[in-house]
């Protein structure tokens, strides 16, 4: 079976672009703190979501709604409402991370298909089967800390479908378990749906050099003409001991295009593209490339050459943890 391309959409226009470009599935979120890309000017209100689902379904695509932050104590109703509204909009599944919200959804919306978000950091078959047995989870988005052989081993031990990231931003930390951002800015992926939020970013040009700060901390400084990656905390340039450099991760983005055949052999069901914060033109281009790749694979043709470099952060690519040497 052809591998499923799961594509991000930060706006209705991006969703339409993704559908037209051939995405089998689009994931998106409501315009509030219930999803992990709660960025200014992004995401869908309820009316837009309903229309988006209709549009996608008319064109044979599915829509997943990410409700994958961890509900705030005292305000769980906001998240419960998001799940209920997603079901009312006719979405094909919700992507959840929080135990309490999984429990709530399994009990009160048993007919709504549940996927486990990467934010749940379910990194082995035992815990994935636990989520399936306990909350009826049908698919898990695997954390970006696993190698291809590890993914194959997981698939050998579970009936749960697996979805893996193949392109876009790369988290080097186990997602859903990182408070670096709130340590520096007060806003975190888990609680607020943002990492290294734009509201706390400052770019300061100084004689042709560009300083990027987050919450007042200098994350990196580039010379005139050098690529300027966004100051994501874990990809900054720091000093430890005698060494200065990108101690956690280089300002690279993930591109596992070449690994698609191996991922298919490893039993992966769906390939996920990161980037709900990116523009519709980005989305359209990336989807076309990956759709062409999986179609070629299915037809037994060689993979088309990649042409996505210009779209990536810092314009350097990595295959991330999929190759074990990354660690």
């Amino acid at each position: 079976m052809v591998m499923e391309i799961v594509c991000p959409a930060g706006t209705p226009a991006a969703l339409r672009a993704a559908v037209k470009a051939g995405a089998h599935t689009i994931y998106c979120g409501f315009n509030d703190e219930t999803n992990a890309r709660n960025f200014p000017g992004l995401n869908f209100n309820r009316v837009e979501m309903r229309e988006a689902v209709q549009f996608a379904h008319q064109h044979g695509s599915s829509v997943l709604v990410a409700i994958n932050t961890f509900p705030r104590a005292g305000d769980e109703a906001i998240w419960h409402r998001a799940v209920a509204d997603a079901e009312a909009c006719g979405v094909d599944a919700v992507i959840l991370a929080d135990l309490g919200l999984l429990d709530h959804t399994a009990r009160t919306h048993p007919g709504l298909r549940r996927h486990l978000s990467v934010q749940a950091a379910a990194a082995n078959a035992d815990v994935i089967n636990f989520y399936a047995d306990t909350f009826g989870v049908k698919r898990v988005v695997l954390p970006r800390v696993l190698s291809v052989p590890e993914i194959a081993a997981i698939n050998a031990e579970t009936e749960v479908e697996t979805e893996v990231f193949v392109f876009g931003g790369l988290c080097v930390m186990a997602e859903g378990r990182c408070s670096l951002s709130s340590y520096a800015t007060g806003l975190s992926p888990n609680m607020n749906g943002v990492c290294s939020p734009a509201s706390h970013v400052e770019y300061i040009e100084d004689r042709g050099a560009l300083d990027a700060r987050l919450g007042g901390y200098l994350i990196h400084r580039v010379d005139k003409g050098e690529p300027a990656p966004y100051p994501t905390l874990c990809k900054g340039c720091f000093t430890a001991g005698e060494k200065t450099g990108h101690l956690f991760e280089d300002p690279v983005s993930l591109n596992a295009e070449r690994l698609i055949p191996q991922l298919q052999k490893a039993g992966v069901t769906a390939l996920k593209i990161e980037g709900r914060q990116r523009s519709k033109s980005y989305v359209a281009q990336v989807v076309r490339n990956f759709r062409a790749a999986v179609d070629a694979l299915e037809a037994g043709r060689p993979l088309p050459e990649g042409m996505l470099a210009r779209l990536s952060e810092g314009q350097a690519m990595t295959t991330g943890a999929y190759k074990k040497t990354w660690r």
Binding site: A73, E76, A121, A184, R327
Partner: protein, 302 residues
């Protein structure tokens, strides 16, 4: 309010490890969590000492729990996690994988690396057998208050991160190994040179984080000195003190005095800073606009 000593986050020589837990038998803490949290590769160096440490601590009247790893991926790690319950002490889960292996019914503790952010999660864990939960350090006071109220009704004790470098992130990649140009599988235990983590600074020299193998910690030492009264009135039942390589016995004693009211608010932080003037403290997750903030000062160094 009681004191819990969290699992040691760092890699210490086995002999020093034993001395540390020996010392704890004589300290005024109520509960000790032992075991390896961060990296399964460290465990063989002191694994055989754990049963002895547990029995000495139990003999000294301490409650003892055994932690799971924070991130379980390898087959060997899954096996270790499955075996936790066989040690005969309460298990503290710090990765939900451990829960998958606990028999039902079974009572257990939940560590700060499990995401307990709301009442729904707390209720679910309580129904599954959780009797004690150390909340994630990232939570603000208003969440602590809400959750503690719910927990009290359910008979679950709530703990809050009381002192020590904050566990901010865990990864599949070992940063100590990367720093030394090695892979994780051939790390040569680079993290053992830094018994309290290796300082990570911005390129203009501002302290920011600390690396500890696959873990990333805060540069600052979280300190609950200024929060204890509010935490107590919220119903929090214990503070968690995180092991550090020096001055830990004195720190435990000071927290005991602070809780008992024989040390005034602010004096504990003052003592800590006098003993080590280069240390930076924080309590911003509980009461500030970001985690790194410290209510003991209004200005921050650049």
């Amino acid at each position: 309010m009681e004191l819990t000593v969290g699992p040691n986050q760092f890699f210490w020589p086995a002999e020093g490890w034993s001395v540390f837990y020996d010392d704890l038998t004589r300290s005024p803490v109520d509960r000790v969590v032992v075991g390896e949290l961060v990296c399964s590769k460290r465990l063989p160096f002191y694994q055989d000492r754990i049963p002895d440490a547990i029995s000495k601590l139990v003999g000294a009247g301490k409650d003892v729990a055994l932690t799971s790893l924070a991130l379980v991926t390898l087959k060997r790690e899954r096996r270790l996690t499955a075996e936790l319950a066989e040690m005969g002490v309460m298990v503290e889960i710090n990765d939900l994988t451990a829960l998958a292996h606990l028999p039902e019914p079974c009572i257990f503790s939940v560590g700060p690396l499990v995401n307990v952010y709301n009442e729904g999660t707390l209720r679910w864990l309580a129904a599954r057998g959780a009797r004690r939960i150390c909340l994630p350090p990232e939570l603000p006071m208003v969440s602590v208050e809400t959750l503690t109220k719910v927990a009290t009704d359910l008979g679950v004790a709530i703990e809050v991160w009381g002192h020590g470098r904050l566990p901010l992130a865990i990864s599949g990649r070992c940063y100590h190994a990367r720093l030394h140009g090695r892979s994780k599988d051939n790390c040569q235990f680079a993290c053992e040179d830094d018994p309290d983590g290796l300082d990570v600074l911005t390129t203009v020299g501002r302290p920011f984080m600390a690396m500890n193998g696959v873990q990333t910690l805060s540069d600052s030492y979280a300190c609950s000195d200024h929060q204890i009264e509010i935490l107590r009135s919220a119903g929090v039942s214990a503070l968690r003190l995180s092991p550090q390589s020096t001055g830990f016995a004195a720190l435990c004693a000071m927290y005991k005095q602070r809780i008992a009211g024989t040390l005034p608010r602010g004096a504990l932080a003052q003592e800590v800073l006098t003993a080590n003037p280069r240390l930076r403290l924080s309590d911003g997750f509980l009461s500030g606009s970001c985690g790194a903030e410290w209510s003991g000062t209004t200005n921050h160094s650049p």
